[in-house]
Symmetry: C2
Subunit: 299 residues, 2 copies
Amino acid sequence: MEEKQIIRWIKDHCATKQKQVRVGIGDDAAVVEYDKENYLLFTTDIVVDGVHFIAKTTSPYQVGRKALSVNISDIAAMGGTPLYALVSIGMQQKTKALVYEGIYKGILEMAKIFKVGIIGGNLSRSDVLFVDIFLIGKVRKKDIVLRSTAKPDDLLFVTGTLGGAQKEKQFSFIPRIKEAKIIIKKTKPSAMIDISDGLASDAKKLAEASNCGFEIESWRIPVSKDADVQDRISSALYDGEDYELLFTVSPKIAKNIPEKINDTQITKIGRLTKKKTFILKNKDGTKSKTFKEKFSHFS
Amino acid sequence: MEEKQIIRWIKDHCATKQKQVRVGIGDDAAVVEYDKENYLLFTTDIVVDGVHFIAKTTSPYQVGRKALSVNISDIAAMGGTPLYALVSIGMQQKTKALVYEGIYKGILEMAKIFKVGIIGGNLSRSDVLFVDIFLIGKVRKKDIVLRSTAKPDDLLFVTGTLGGAQKEKQFSFIPRIKEAKIIIKKTKPSAMIDISDGLASDAKKLAEASNCGFEIESWRIPVSKDADVQDRISSALYDGEDYELLFTVSPKIAKNIPEKINDTQITKIGRLTKKKTFILKNKDGTKSKTFKEKFSHFS
């Protein structure tokens, strides 16, 4: 049984009949009824030493900053606003207090920018350093964007640039909360997801959740200056850790999507298809029929 | 800097000014405004291999069951009802799918009993096995019980029996949700906490949060049949993992506390004091002035 099957098993067994729950497992965040105008959003994401950072080469500040940022990015992908966080840290007992302080300084830096209250948490001994964050947010009902509601022929857009984010961007990015709100205000996407595992993998997740395939035009992908010079397109497709937004818009209203939001470019890179295949088109007319999977990521 | 100082530092730096937040870091759960009659409760607790269980001798089912139960116990200690959970699991990549399934079966067993919806989560690679759960609950505003609101001379009660819980009870206990509600209905406690680190440690937390000391009469402590036969009182005071409720009641209304709730005994074990010392009185008239701390637990 692979990761996908494990997640399938979990989804099947955890299907809840609670009528307050609008969306359970399977989107960037869970969606629960709140008041007349808003839903509550719940998400959790973790950073683990050796998987999402290397403690020897990453400062505690960077670890904390990334831990909160990746969660805020999940809330952005739903069109929401982050509100409160609980922080669970595991660390060897001999670890110095300065490490805690550094991690918290990174968390608090992002918490301040996005007005997130740190309202609880937990310290535990663990042979492996990790920071697990639970983030609570809210979203106006009329603004919520799921990953499962795209239609064939919807156009595929991405914010910012992709590739090479493991070099530096993963520890310094600003989650796209503001950009998501502006996009939704201009024209509501039919679906949205944040890019954490790489464009190829996350486009596939959005397309599969929406019961579609996609066609991405490789020459349109906005490649970061940090992408691997040997194979810039593959770097943009598979590196991951970009934390940009990938979203779809009905072709009828796609003209409302701006080319830039402040300094952030918005790029049309392809479209969804009725046929459930994942196609990369090249400028010379060649097509790759499927994306290679970078790894069974468990992340 | 020790654990206590680290937590102090975190509390000081995370104090939030959000007006929706009633209680942040420092109680069994965070308390946030919800609707006219209810608060939302947020808590997180983790079980880590080598700290809260030993993977070699504990089944995945037991690990999952404990992971959710300890969180439900935190909601019980606030007088609340658990609603939704997010589950974050870290595991080595080579771990078999059966382990995930076993953990989830343990979680789902408790989720079913307490009608908790599993609405999100996360799987991650990690060299150390852990299950981190984020639990959302609610509590009627008029029923909420904090740990910081006891007064000197309030009487100290405990549910069930204490000691030796690491043998078996930690993996089989039923969190005291029902008992908490019955106690609150009969007479509202002035403060409440669940016993996870041991009676001595958690009584101290409640007393300190309430700006009091306490006097516990050792011969009144309800000692479990599983407690260490060599020193049954120390076992009940320091073993931890009991997940019973410790609560205080004003002496004026303490007569309303029943001696039993179904099969669970409720025992008066002492009282809070104005003087901020932590005293154990023995039947022969001797007193120990302070509790020894079992260990700097980081748990």
